[in-house]
Amino acid sequence: MSEFSTWDVFRNLLAAVPWTIYLSLIAFAGGAVVSLILLSLRLAFPRVAGRPVHLYVQVFQGTPLLMQLFLVYFGLALMGIQTTPLLAASLCLSVYSSAYLTETWYGCVLAVPKGQWEASSSLGLPHWQQMLLIILPQALRLSVPPTVGLMVQIVKNTSLASIVGFVELTRASQIIANATFEPFLAYGAVAFIYFVICFSISLCGRHLEKRIRI
């Protein structure tokens, strides 16, 4: 049996970092697209779309991501679509993130003070112009800190893709722990790598927050 050095463990873990990052980017982009659609529906037709969108958010925020992942994984197979761990994980994480992003961004729109609506309507702007020119730019600023927080959550949640067999950081650490009999080192190192990724995102967020302070 060969010996494994600390560097061997780290090197092999680092090789899995890109997959965690790809998956995070897919989940964030997918989530953002879905939630922008849901958000515009909710804002444009509050009466008709309000309840269904709220229900969507409740369902995905009220069930464990793990169960959603299994449902997508086995659901796709039931529909006769060949499931790969990457497909299931991207799909599931996108939908899951979209629920959180929709709710957060909707809250940001609501958080714009009411006076702004009144002022813009007293200027005679039509509803869509009020929305586009007055409310959304302010909501966008408000949304920066929670969005960065959600990005960190998404990176952390990609670890669940390991459970359906997608080889990203967490799966890699399991494989390495089993191969080297050094679980302490492998799991400790992977926690450290996640921390470096997530903490840098948090720091960037804080920096951005300071720069755009209203």
């Binding site: 409740q58 369902v59 464990p64 952390k156 967490t170 302490f184 400790g188 997530c198 948090s202």
Partner: protein, 226 residues
Amino acid sequence: MSLSSFIDVLHSWPSLLNGLGMTVLLTLISCLLGVILGTLCAWASLKGPKPLRWFIRAYVEFFRNTPFLGQIFFIFFGLPALGLRMDPFTAALVALTINLTAYACEIIRAGIEATPAGQFEAASSLGLKPAQAFFLIIIPPAFQRVWPAMTSQLVIMLLASALCSQISVAELSYEANMIASRTFRNFEAYIVVTIMYLALAVLFRELLTWVGRRFVFGEFATAGQR
């Protein structure tokens, strides 16, 4: 997928019930411990000696910026290398509590920082000791301020407890896996259990709202607001 395949799954109701009980138990214990420890950490991170403050800061940042799944694996598979061996249930409880403490500390700290400094000065001018002032004067309105955020975090904790199945704690999602492999009704088993989780989350949210009204926003707390 047909009705009969759901019946196959529901035939295993005793194991579903066991799993449900285990999920509830894990959630309640870890939430209680997490909120208590989180409050103490919040206090220490604001009023404690400098090294303790740094330690808590580092603790909070570390556990908020690493995945919960990794934390469970580290505690259950990694720590035995240091001679710290735990059974799955204890490991799950430790992981959940450690994780929630970090979030709760941050939430409560935000609530305390929003409390006007005059409150503390008023309390100490009445002759209250710092600890008394903190737990009697500062904490109740701070909790009131952050209760919605705390509720969300506790519900997230309930859902995160599903990951404890990965170290074979026999909670709800573990039972789902077991039923799935016993009946070959994967999709149906996960649908049933997902609905159970949803119901549990809704109930838990209601319970926390009630607890908030009864104990956090109670007459005592609102009397102070007037």
